[in-house]
Subunit: 215 residues, 2 copies
């Protein structure tokens, strides 16, 4: 499979960043190693920083499109799948994503830019969730909490994968999203959601507590 020019530039840049440091590496060194010219480089990237990051301008609209297909009743699967789009992008990048992680840990300007990107995803999720919860009590607050939970769960799993701390990223993602979504269950105006956290084996006692809570 032929490697795209863009991918060759990214590979060349990351290997130079790891060898000589981000600050020390120049665009000319990157193009020399990739075997392209400066014009080609600037057709793909605005500058050296751009090479480091995923193309969020392509990724964000895909996430937005997935969220936009959902309604209040289908929201949980939409939130899972939308977050998964982002995670999958990093998994497909593989070694590049891990090299970026090492780099952003050591260059504050890159870390700040990464934090700013995370804010864009948070805002996107919050805006979409707000449209689903607009008419519910504390809808805007709950939308913010749910968006924060989904992004936090996603980032938790992504970070563990980047650090090579997880063997089963699919299971970790499922667990994390289940935790995040359980925190702000959809409003259920007729059916009931009862969440019981118990280590108490005495079912009758728990049922008495539930009855007391309901009556």
């Amino acid at each position: 499979m032929p490697t795209s020019t863009r991918a060759r530039l990214v590979d060349a840049a990351f290997s130079l960043f790891e060898e000589h440091g981000f600050t020390e590496t120049t665009v000319d060194e990157i193009t020399a190693r990739a075997g392209t010219g400066r014009t080609t480089f600037f057709r793909h990237f605005r500058g050296k920083e751009d090479v480091v990051f995923p193309d969020h301008d392509l990724l964000l609209p895909r996430v937005e499109a997935r969220l936009a297909t959902a309604t209040a009743t289908t929201r949980d699967v939409a939130l899972r799948e939308a977050a998964r789009i982002v995670l999958d992008h990093y998994l497909e990048e593989g070694a590049t994503a891990r090299a970026r992680y090492r780099l952003t840990r050591t260059v504050p300007a890159l870390r700040d830019r990464e934090d700013a990107s995370a804010q864009r995803y948070l805002r996107l999720f919050r805006q979409q969730i707000s449209t689903w919860m607009r008419d519910e009590p504390d809808g805007h607050l709950r939308a913010e909490l749910l968006a924060a939970a989904v992004i936090t769960a996603h980032n938790h799993v992504l970070r563990r994968w980047l650090r090579e701390e997880t063997d089963d990223v699919d299971a970790a993602f499922d667990t994390a999203l289940t935790r995040a979504l359980a925190e702000t269950p959809p409003s259920a105006p007729v059916t009931s959601t009862v969440v019981v956290h118990t280590g108490n084996p005495d079912v009758e006692q728990v049922l008495r507590e539930v009855r007391a809570a309901l009556t």
Copy 2:
């Protein structure tokens, strides 16, 4: 009550920022209006940007100290009170806090710096909560979710107050923190925590569902 030199510098700076813009205002103009010299200015602030922000280096240790007094069983009140320390600081600032909010909305560099400060509080809460949840299943994930929920709830109320959208900031804070804390209830190894969300008036049906779920 005599106004402190620091407070006079802050007042002078904010009135100039609002009249002429942040970028256009110089340190010399600020000191001239405050009736002090440059040396005095630089005894209080490292530069023009520093005048804009609350003194997080004083505020963060107070928050940390409050969190450090708590244990897993007293965590909820500690989280409430720690978040409240930050909110109270902004409430005491009053008009200055609202002027800062208008300013950071319009100057991207200031907004980025504010986002970076928010990350410091998030990290502080996360680290402390992690020590309480370390040995629980998914403890690190849950600590991240809870920290994100507390910070999100705090910021939600603060933002509403800064925009003058809330008449009763105390009630808004209580509601928001209750929502945030309800999302990640403390683990209860022996006793039971029962959270019932229901619009169903048929208590017996709810109890049948709970029994089925428990057995």
